[in-house]
Symmetry: C2
Subunit: 331 residues, 2 copies
């Protein structure tokens, strides 16, 4: 049985969507147990009965989504839903934590409450980006650290390689550097120095620079840059996807003939819209903290929460965190 | 009559698409004259007769698209199609220059051959990003300078404001800072300091941070960041657009029913695909060099070249460069 702590009060649509997504997961997976952290009265509104394997740990404190001072929050809001759950993860009462709460609070809280793994200098948020062709790519750092040194990217590379091989079952996964040109020598000083370091690293399969425009076509499994650039990239894909999805629908319903056509194409359009939907992405893994932390998107709906829970369950079962601990301590 | 120099040998599909795009423009606009710089024999392959208002200046030198040492190129390849055309722009033999050649060669060549405008410290590539709703937004810097200081962004803001009001006829255009969060205090040190400077600048209408995911929805006309982040953003939109367009087509032709539907929806799908097409974007304006330089996308097709020529003609007619010179010299 995998025990997952869920921050019921994190995210733009909490607690409703968080609770509903948790119910989806409880119904689908018989080998998980979920503990919801948050306001019991508010949570119970969305539970029409008692569920086996689902419990609540009550607290009326929670973090604001616009939390600007996470350091202060860790000190002053010890009993908030996110930090209470983190405490239980640290004490091994649960196997994983899923939250759609503020990213920086998760990162800082992770450092202060759970602590970094020995040998890890910088944490990274690893996002799993699916494509219409079914291939999943890892992006790191997608938002934990806005400033990095080239040697941090080298650690990320080793780490992404482990994750891709162990969890996604990719043999000899290909590592690329997210950059503004495909040739060597492109980018800022940071990319130039990182390129040199990655080229020399023997334990990874470095394929060079990857431009954002070729991201979906390139034969590449892991894409690296700092958390600022990674986050800009991720949010650009998201914005573009949403814009297009909204406009395709608008165009379709703009005239009768097109509406007729849409009747024939219903399944096709549905399948297409799915590739644009950020809730299909699921959660991001916070690498480097000594515990399994999954960050779901701030605007997660129930499907996104369900997907993040699926990830948490699978990663917990793969015992990836233990494997990482071993590899990192050997370096 | 507006005289436009065209670098016929720049871009992935030169000279063919460059020549064909120039012909489109010559046929559509009776008030422009085009001079093609490049290999006469190769250019003439795509001209089935002589055209009034279209001439060729022959050179057999041209720049490689992967040009990694633009400084050396300016010294060694003075007679390349791009730099010859630049020389004529400097000497006022033409009113504008359009090229799909390598960006860094354009930027460095612009500095060394034409020179910066007095009072401008850093150039910027300004991209015009259209949306499905018809609104055009300006992104700067989209790739001229990978490292900038906050005060450079302040100059860009003034400048984008002038461009948006004079050329796009937008009253009191709204300026945003491209960032990973919408609240004040988000981002790297660069964004935090830039935010403070922009907030205090009286001659612009600063609306705060703009996240890439809200780019198309936000009521904003000008978006600022450095050339690395701007380029990552732009190429992400491009990659995402292409990925979706290709996959929508694949889905549609995957079964009979859906193909039937597509017959009804032909116009709708065409209109939608247009919003995803980078050739609709046209060119980017290189701000800060003392002349009108338009950079078309490296993989420009004939429509993209036509659009870049349309821009060149319109900006030349608006006498924007003269206006900028006046404003900049007054500061």
């Amino acid at each position: 049985m995998i025990k997952i702590a869920v921050d019921a009060m994190g995210g733009d649509y909490s607690p409703e969507k968080i609770v509903l997504g948790s119910l989806m997961a409880i119904k689908k997976y018989k080998d998980i147990e979920i503990i919801l952290y948050g306001d019991e009265t508010k949570i119970k509104k969305y539970l029409n009965k008692d569920y086996k394997r689902l419990s609540i740990i009550h607290t009326d404190e929670y973090l604001d989504m616009g939390e600007l001072d996470p350091l202060k929050a860790v000190r002053d809001k010890k009993n908030s839903s996110m930090f209470l759950a983190m405490q239980d993860l640290k004490n091994k009462k649960v196997d994983a934590l899923v939250t759609a709460g503020p990213t920086q609070a998760l990162v800082i809280g992770g450092h202060l409450i759970i602590k970094r793994m020995k040998g890890v200098k910088r944490t990274a948020l690893i996002t799993f980006i699916p494509s219409a062709t079914g291939r999943t790519r890892l992006l790191l750092d997608s938002g934990a650290n806005v400033d990095l040194k080239p040697e941090h990217l080298r650690t990320y590379a080793t780490f992404g390689t482990l994750l891709a091989s162990e969890y996604l079952n990719i043999k000899n996964p290909k590592v690329g550097l997210l950059n503004i040109g495909s040739e060597e020598g492109k980018g800022r000083e940071f990319e130039k120095l990182s390129y040199d370091l990655l080229k020399e690293e023997k334990n990874i399969n470095f394929i060079g620079n990857v431009e954002p425009k070729e991201f979906f076509d390139k034969d590449c499994d892991i894409v690296l840059n700092d958390g600022f650039v990674g986050n800009i990239f991720l949010k650009s894909l998201e914005g573009c996807g949403k814009h297009m999805s909204v406009n395709l629908k608008k165009e379709i319903f703009s005239n009768f003939k097109s509406k007729m056509g849409a009747l024939f194409m219903r399944k096709t359009i549905k399948k297409f819209a799915k590739t644009l939907d950020s809730s299909e992405i699921g959660g991001a893994l916070l690498f480097g903290i000594d515990g399994l932390l999954i960050k779901a998107h701030g605007s997660s709906n129930e499907l996104a929460i369900f997907n993040a829970l699926t990830q948490a369950k699978k990663i917990a079962q793969s015992e990836l965190i233990d494997k990482i601990r071993t590899v990192v301590s050997e370096n």
